[in-house]
Amino acid sequence: MPSRLAIIIAACVFLLAALGVAAYVVIELRDRPAASGGGDGSLLPATLGGPFSLTDHTGRTVTEADYAGKYLLVFFGFTHCPDICPTTLNQVALTMRALGDRAAQVQPLFVTVDPARDTPAAMAEYVALFDAGIVGLTGTEQEIADIARAYRVHYARAEIEGAPDDYMMDHSVLLYLMGPDGNFRRLFRPDDKPEDMADAIVEQIAEDE
């Protein structure tokens, strides 16, 4: 029965290849540094963050009390940002997916650093693209300056040569995991893998419980 033999050989080769790929993936993941933020996180004070009053993408005024009991994944950007911000929102969307059931305990908050252009409607249009329960937050110039200061976030308008009506925003690109008690827990970087972020969040939830 040469054909049966061929099938068995093919199956063995397939399994070996699969094992090789699996081993590679496992080794890759193990050797990668943890996504907890490591040394960077420990440099940040536990007082990072705090109370805020902003407007969400549905036009409702919200404060930290509206998300009481949840972990917050807070990050900053602006909707006219074509490169970094969509990458970060996607990173967050994939993290939420990787969290599975645990996602219900986490509220991602995308805070604009460009309140002049980012109206609630603009934020709504933008967060809807990612379909991950991300809440877009905007506010007055002062409200945004306040939350940025609370998170040690730097932002500045950058002019574009030859386009006086348009501009970019320089801004901090880190992501902050805040606990249900409102205290800072962990820092993530824009190049952290969503699976690693989800693992770190699950680990954090377990640690807190």
């Binding site: 397939f14 399994l15 290849a17 699969a18 094992l19 790929v21 699996a22 993936v25 909707t79 006219h80 940002c81 074509p82 490169d83 970094i84 969509p86 990458t87 929102l89 996607n90 969307a93 994939l94 603009a122 249009e125 933008y126 693209l129 990612f130 379909d131 730097h154 932002y155 950058a158 574009i160 040569e161 030859g162 386009a163 348009d166 970019m168 320089d170 801004h171 901090s172 690109v173 880190l174 824009p190 190049d191």
Partner: protein, 160 residues
């Protein structure tokens, strides 16, 4: 076992995806998988990514980009300073012989300012890359999901 199959399937998809990537070659320059990121309906700007391999003997530079879909296109880079991202225009992208330069999310990219309409996933766009030595090269590219990361092996369904 299911997990092994899953990983193997992903691997095979990756191989298949890479083989199907866009491919153009003119004068020693290979233009690999150019793509634009989908935008919201009201977007004023957009972004294009591409890999360029210089397989010739001569150094070249990407010095300009022209397109009818936006008021203008510029070459940009992202500077990271103390965790702050700063996007800045650059004059050219250097293409050393034997090297492949990646324009990718979070790095160098082509900015489209003053879009004449939103970039819609699945649509095809025409773009002209202008090289110092090779001259103009016209390319076509596809608009990919806003959640795409430029790899061919995943994440394309990220915004489903």
């Amino acid at each position: 076992m299911t997990r092994l199959l899953h990983i193997t399937a992903l691997f095979l998809l990756f191989v298949a995806g890479s083989a199907a990537a866009h491919y153009d070659e003119i004068g020693g320059l290979q233009i690999i998988h150019p793509w634009a990121r989908a935008t919201v309906p009201s977007a004023s700007n957009g972004v294009v990514y591409v890999a360029i391999a210089n397989e010739g003997e001569t150094p070249d530079r990407l010095i300009a980009v022209e397109t009818a879909i936006a008021e203008r296109a510029e070459l940009h880079t992202v500077l990271m300073e103390d965790g702050v991202a700063k996007m800045r225009a650059i004059e050219a992208i250097e293409l050393a012989p034997g090297e492949t330069v990646l324009l990718e999310p979070g790095g160098d990219h082509i900015m489209l300012f003053g879009l004449k309409g939103p970039l819609i996933e699945g649509e095809t766009l025409a773009l002209r890359l202008i090289f110092e030595v090779a001259g103009p090269i016209d390319i076509e590219l596809t608009v990919e999901a806003v959640g795409a990361d430029g790899d061919d092996h995943g994440d394309h369904d990220a915004t489903e």
